[in-house]
Subunit: 286 residues, 4 copies
């Protein structure tokens, strides 16, 4: 029952703040978090410069060995470069989505892509399946054909979808990536979760895990419901920009805001979010 | 933690077999099933004649009071007629989907429809939300506007979607309708499930519930995984036609086959299904 | 370049008004309309009683031989009954959608369904493809496998989708069913259109055809754009209920309103629609 | 009735071949093409390095003033850098998609993004709407809110969708981007098309335009149908990789193949494609 956090990238004054990143990772690891997922979607990974991603990787890897590094990018040189940088370091795995944006990519091309990475990587390769971003589902059949998938982060809000990977690839580490399925992931027998809620409420994610272990399912459900409400609130404000505010509010860490083309909230939006967040926090007793 | 079964309609020689229906319901109630959902999608409800639906209702209601009756039909007279028949009987509730087939129905029209039923029914009304059949989601906001929704059967394979009804309508009875979410429904604090797997493996559904109560989550997950595999097998054969075969195989009840336009399997399909079913049964030790 | 109209069903005081139907059909045939599509989606066909559909069919067939009769229904007896009634009469064809509502129907089952109708019908069978209502696309491959499809009404808003049927089934009569694709259907070489706009502005649909024949493409485009604006207005009011108002406004025919579960507009909605309709009419000079 | 071509990027030996690009553009302009769309989806734009895109831009702009430059990228620095490079040159416009990949971007954020580009660009800004790649539709309402959209390339296979931009933004240049809607775009009164078929059969696209002008609609339809068949063939091979083969076959230009993560066809795929292409070519007399 691992808790992996796709860590938010601190961004301030037009620059990635690597020191804040290390400190934030240490903070998370002290709150029940098992591992970090570097340069994921929550970390704005595919929108970062190569140097920014490498700086994040080095900061994470010098803090913990429990690092999964998302190398996916639309620019092939950056994928290859990220794999090469990872090869120098002692981490758990590299991860990648299928090629995104281009609408007509075939399953055969997807298989070629992942095999290409496996050849270049000295680390295990994890499939990062996120159809809402990529526009296609890398299903169990395609994942199996690749032949070298050692793990899966499945960002699909159906628990049965993720379970199918575990059945088909029993030796792979399989995680669901939905904040709403933390409890389900633990009780359905997955290896864990990779969830953005771990950035702003790692204690709550850890408490769900402990409650499941202790057989306190009602408590676990209550905490899960609370995370769902925060998720719905974040969505009303475009998701990522809200998470920076949540981290300030709940963890006291100021990580700046997202990097364009994901724009930070303007003052009006921010005020509206904070007001709703505080009301929710009080109601949920978080 | 209720287990409601959308009972398969016995159909043989061009006729609904009401006696088999009663006997099958008794059989189910003796295996841990809480209530029956009459003329649901699994029971081919909207494809039945009015007289057939009424006969099923009477057979069920004379066997148990724990009946939810799905009145939805594309023919308004049959909706109204079904409500009127239900008014004569002592059952839990009537249920209905939103109007289906017609692509341009607005939320305002959906609200009108459900209020119309509430006015005509002496029983509580349950929303039957099944976007894969109806073509639209009756979301929490619309459900709330109706003002008289007393329960929800949500056939969406996302547990968070169903939980949202329970949050918004805390006094309503809320069920998920997916075979893959039985375990999730129990641990997320829903009132129960309405699942077609209850037709062919009621003991297994009940065992999941007992395992959850006993804190045996690994056992619960193992049984849930087994049901998922059966579900995938059924889908390869069009879903409903396969369920009749599963019931024969697991429960020893011969309920005939579905009614056109859902055609029974032909011999070739049937042989292929049985072969795969037996192999699966042996592997899963069911 | 045929213009087929899926005729609106006159409904008043809880009854289908057959006389109004006949008179309205005569009116349409005098305004450039080639044939009528009886009990289509616009005519609320699958929501009508068997007797109502038969009454419409008889009224239409006694007015013109150019009748296509949509027999599709979720109730198999009504499909079979409609085919039998049609067999007694001299009409062009019967049409049917694939079985709708049930989510897991396979292509193999769809083929069985259409072959079943072909066996029972003495008329040619037209495929009525309307994925937005049915929930599945009967693609060119499946249509070809049926082996007896003599025509297609394709209600998909992509002209290339419809053209593919004409390529694969060159002997079939192929129509597009979108108000926005009247001009495209004529210039892409389809056999014609089956469009609800033919109910309220048959003269305009006919003018598009004449303009195409005369090579006046700018005029044709201008008229097509005008129909698009009316279509967008209708959608804001749930589609079908608005069409009854359009017919009153443009053709002076009072056909009552739709039949529940498609509810007529209430007074507030009706007033809002009329106001916008008159403003649009003046602007578009219709 | 403009014909804009989203020019394929010549890629060989791991490098963009700028000379081949210039020569190919000259070739196209001599075959009825009005303007070129540089670094579009067909040109693999968002997957190119900044330097590669700038090299393409310079090569195009030194060949013709009729250049629209697609600046969209997931990396904001590259968007801004591309706009800056374009500012130095005499071209028609820059174009951009909405931010892609990230699932939760709100319409408000989309408006911010486009206004940001308008502020930085000395050229008009064209909206590049391609929901199949971006995951969201920038609808007419959002496009209007931006306030500085001077043109639209709409890659949606519904002609009515594109027409709506022209109605809402009558001063904007509006193009459809679908190979199947060349004829429709010309007769519905759009300003033209931006179509990948212009790479391999610019003469045919130009012939459709001439046929429309001459009122020879049957000829236009026949040519349009032929392009549709090629499109379907390309799709079977992942789209982009096939286009390089089509150009070799029809125009005699060897532009290499696509750049990973869009992999070129392997020998087996290539042989299969060529065989089908030649059979199709003979049948269609192209």
């Amino acid at each position: 029952m691992e808790i992996v956090v796709p860590v938010v990238t601190p961004y301030r004054g037009g620059r990635v703040d690597v020191d804040a990143y290390s400190q934030f990772i240490k903070h998370l690891l002290g709150r029940g978090v098992t591992a970090v997922y570097v340069a994921g979607t929550t970390g704005l990974g595919p929108a970062l410069r190569h140097e920014e991603r490498v700086a994040l990787l080095e900061a994470a890897a010098s803090t913990t060995k429990n690092v999964i590094f998302n190398v996916s990018s639309l620019q092939y040189e950056d994928v290859v470069g990220a794999v090469r940088e990872a090869n120098r370091l002692d981490i758990i795995a590299v991860a990648s989505t299928a090629p995104f944006y281009f609408p007509s990519v075939t399953p055969r091309q997807v298989v070629k892509y992942f095999r290409d990475i496996c050849q270049k990587s000295s680390h295990p390769l994890y499939l990062y399946n996120i159809p809402s971003a990529v526009g296609r589902d890398v299903d169990v059949k395609t994942a199996g054909e690749v032949g070298c998938i050692a793990g899966v982060k499945d960002s699909v809000e159906e628990i049965a979808h993720t379970v199918r990977y575990k059945k088909a690839l029993p030796n792979a580490r399989v995680y669901n990536g939905s904040n709403s399925l933390i409890l389900a992931s633990f009780v359905y027998g997955l290896d864990g979760v990779v969830v953005s809620a771990g950035n702003y409420l790692p204690e709550v994610v850890a408490s769900i895990r402990e409650a499941v272990k202790a057989g306190e399912l009602e408590k676990a459900a209550r905490l899960q419901w609370a995370l769902d409400e925060l998720q719905m609130l974040a969505r009303d404000f475009g998701g990522l920009p809200a998470i920076y505010e949540f981290i300030r509010e709940f963890q006291g860490f100021d990580l700046g805001g997202p990097k364009p083309p994901i724009y930070p909230l303007d003052e009006e939006e921010r005020a509206a979010l904070i007001q709703r967040l505080r009301a929710l926090r009080e109601r949920l007793k978080l």
